[in-house]
């Protein structure tokens, strides 16, 4: 049985995205039948380009876990992991995945997630590595830890050609070569640099379109909500990265978003406030969360989540040079990490810049109980941004998929109070 492909043409982007997601899940499901090797990868720092060269089917355990939240099935999976012995304080994505393992990999989407032949865990979130250790034990599949050095401090600038940059790039390239050898051993195939160049050319096109789509949301009214529509976009972008289908989808999406801008159509009927969202979504209640803002005419014009959950390639518009595919992969992987993916540790300046770029009225920080990668120092970040830049900010806390941490009344109160502040500021500025 061959993997199914579909054309995204003659459909709206939403339907096309949905079909691609379904198709990807079907491909994942049938990979063992087709004898296709399976790799587990994360959204940040995953070297997907190499895996595509070797024909791996990709499983994104983060997407599996978030889907348990979206489909309201997370509590069962979380309970299984906690009963098995995992502390309630462990990242809920990890626990949902352990729950899935304990459910014989039967995912609520109807997909049976196959076992991995290889798992890649980058150091961009240390939990990825702990998570991969669990797979090593459960599936006996080797973990490949890809250490990608991030920025060392807030104003760190990787400058190509400097000794420092070369050192980091050399390190990443060395590991990518190790990964290639490992893929050759697993698949029995030889590495084909031309195929890598092809995949990179597709990624380049996707990134170019993605940056355009992000930039279109700088327009007023914002054509989409980065924390609702945006989440669907990056799901497709991740699952189809480096493929012609992915390029086609991004093109369709760009045209659609550009059309909305041309017609002056906004996501919110009467856009009053433009906001930047910092942090991860609350997948169990994202619609509700967005609704709390949209009823006040607030739209999330941009979010740092769209940078790191999409692999960081939009940061500073990074493109591969397919004429030197492997070196270029090492360069871009290093730069994406240092310019985008390790930013949440030092995101104060970037957030302030986003406020300017998107003409935003404030920042909403969403602290996630189980995600220390994103949320540990948000409160400090907020304090800095408020005092240094005088920006209105809101801090709310819940979880990615664990509904026990969602407190509707409390969050609603805080959101309402935040909008009162925004309204007052608007009045002082001469009204909106």
């Amino acid at each position: 049985m061959a993997a199914t492909t579909h054309t995204a043409k003659a459909m709206d982007a939403r339907a096309a995205g949905q079909r691609l997601v379904n198709q990807w899940l079907a491909n994942v499901h049938s990979a063992p039948e087709r004898g296709q090797p399976v790799a587990y990868v994360f959204v940040m720092g995953n070297a997907v380009e190499i895996l595509r060269v070797f024909g791996f089917e990709l499983v994104f355990p983060e997407i599996n876990s978030l889907q348990t939240g979206v489909r309201k099935a997370a509590p069962d999976f979380l309970a299984k992991a906690e009963d098995y012995g995992f502390s309630p304080d462990v990242c809920s994505y990890v626990k949902a995945d352990v729950g899935l393992m304990l459910s014989d990999m039967a995912h609520p989407s109807g997909t049976r997630i196959p076992r991995p032949d290889l798992a890649i865990a980058s150091s961009l979130c240390n939990v990825y590595i702990k998570w991969a250790e669990i797979w090593e034990r459960h599936f006996g599949a080797p973990a490949f830890v890809l250490d990608i050095p991030g920025k060392r401090f807030a104003t760190w600038k990787p400058i190509p050609g400097t000794a420092q940059y070369d050192a980091d790039k050399r390190w990443v390239e060395g590991q990518l070569r190790d990964l290639i050898s490992q893929c050759e051993r697993i698949t029995g195939k030889k590495f084909d640099p031309d195929r890598l160049a092809e995949v990179e050319a597709n990624v380049n096109e996707m990134v170019r379109l993605w940056v355009e789509i992000l930039t279109l949301n700088q327009r007023r009214p914002a054509p989409y909500n980065s924390m609702l529509d945006g989440l669907t976009y990056i799901g497709v972008l991740n699952a189809w990265r480096g493929t012609p289908e992915g390029v086609e989808y991004m093109r369709l999406l760009r045209d659609e978003v550009a059309g909305k801008v041309a017609r002056g159509e906004g996501r919110v009927r009467q856009e009053r406030f433009r906001l930047i969202f910092s942090g991860t979504p609350c997948y169990v209640n994202m619609r509700r969360l967005v609704e709390l803002f949209e009823t006040h005419g607030g739209v999330f014009a941009a979010s740092d989540y769209l940078t790191y959950a999409a692999g960081g390639l939009d940061s500073s518009g990074l493109f591969y040079d397919p004429s030197r595919p492997l070196e270029s992969l090492a360069e871009v992987t290093t730069l994406a990490s240092q310019l985008g993916l390790s930013n949440h540790f030092f995101s104060h300046h970037t957030l302030a810049q986003q406020v300017k770029d998107y003409a935003a009225d404030g920042i909403v920080y969403h602290g996630i109980k189980s995600c220390r990668t994103v949320a540990t120092s948000m409160a400090d970040n907020r304090e800095y941004v408020t005092t240094r830049y005088g920006l209105p900010t809101l801090y709310i806390e819940s979880d990615l998929i664990d509904p026990r941490y969602w407190s509707d009344a409390q969050i609603k109160n805080r959101v309402d109070a935040f909008f009162e502040v925004l309204e007052q500021r608007a009045l002082l500025k001469g009204g909106k």
Binding site: Y84, V127, P149, A167, G174, F345, H348, S370, D380
Partner: protein
Amino acid sequence: MAVDIESSLTDVLARCHELSLRQDIGEDEANIAIGYFPVYFPEEIVHAAGLRPHALLGGGNRIEVRYADARIGSFVCSICRSTTELGLNGSLKGLGGFFAQPICDAAKHMAGIWGRNFPQQDPQILALPQNVNSPASVRYVYDEYQRLRGILADKVGHEISDEAIRGSLAVYNENRRLQRALYAIKRDDPARLSTVEAYLLVRAGTRMRREKHNQLLREALRLLPQRRIRPMDKPRVVFLGGFCEQPPLEMLETIEDVCFIVDDDLLIGQRWITEDVPEDGDPVWALAESYIQRSAASPVQYDARKPKEDVLMTTLREARAEAAIISAAKFCEPGLDDQLALSRRLDREKIPYLVLEFEEKMTSFEQMAMQVETFAESLLFD
């Protein structure tokens, strides 16, 4: 004579204890103390620059948190919180530098917090790698150490010579030999040296020049064999969970009331390198290579050569321990994640164990005492 020995030892330990309680940087050490967040740091390079490495080990259970709660998530471990507090309350204002390592996601944020609040301390991440299994890893660590060397040279205003680093390697090699000797006593003759005592002796090294610490350890090692001891019958256990956030002394005492802790991972960064670092050749390369090739294990360092369960089994066997205490700091994702894998293996091997969770700020130990007592009794009578 025995009284003299005991009182000399008591003096040494009292000095160590006093140092462990001290939260601030002495004025005479302003800008000389270079702070680093756990676990491991290539102290030799700092030492060779004429500066003093200062391990940041949290605030213990006597600190009042007034500022940090408003700056850090409620779901973050205590060492991150208390270290932030020590920064905000001015205790660490004398630091001449601040380094965090990518040991976990919370620790990486410490560099961000420091950067926003204490930029004058030039805070940053020393990016030690999570992949130590690649042939390229030694070169990468070497490059990162050279970066550190450059930063420190800028601070002191002169180059740090290979000769100076070689000198520091010798001092630290001796220090590690002395620490190993201390741990050998604890393992072979635990009634002679308790874990709390060994811990305080090791911890003192984070607050003084290594030459002085070597002297202190030599003195302790001279006195210990002469100490009068009473034979005691307690089960021999290995303690895990002290690699980063430090368990309160009272917790260790509680365990030691009923068990001998014959090996542990307390302050493992101080003993990270397990053999002498070669003193010939390029000293920075030797240090980088030792980080990869002659090193211990911890939950915050992935290493395919050292599956955590195997490491624990070897430790238990070498320490001739009959049981394990698997602890983790509250909200410490790496520690908590490992507990399960370790306990599954112990179950399989039918080795008794006790799982504990702690916080450095704990002040009440009654409940833990009951748990540990029941555990120890089960070991003695089963």
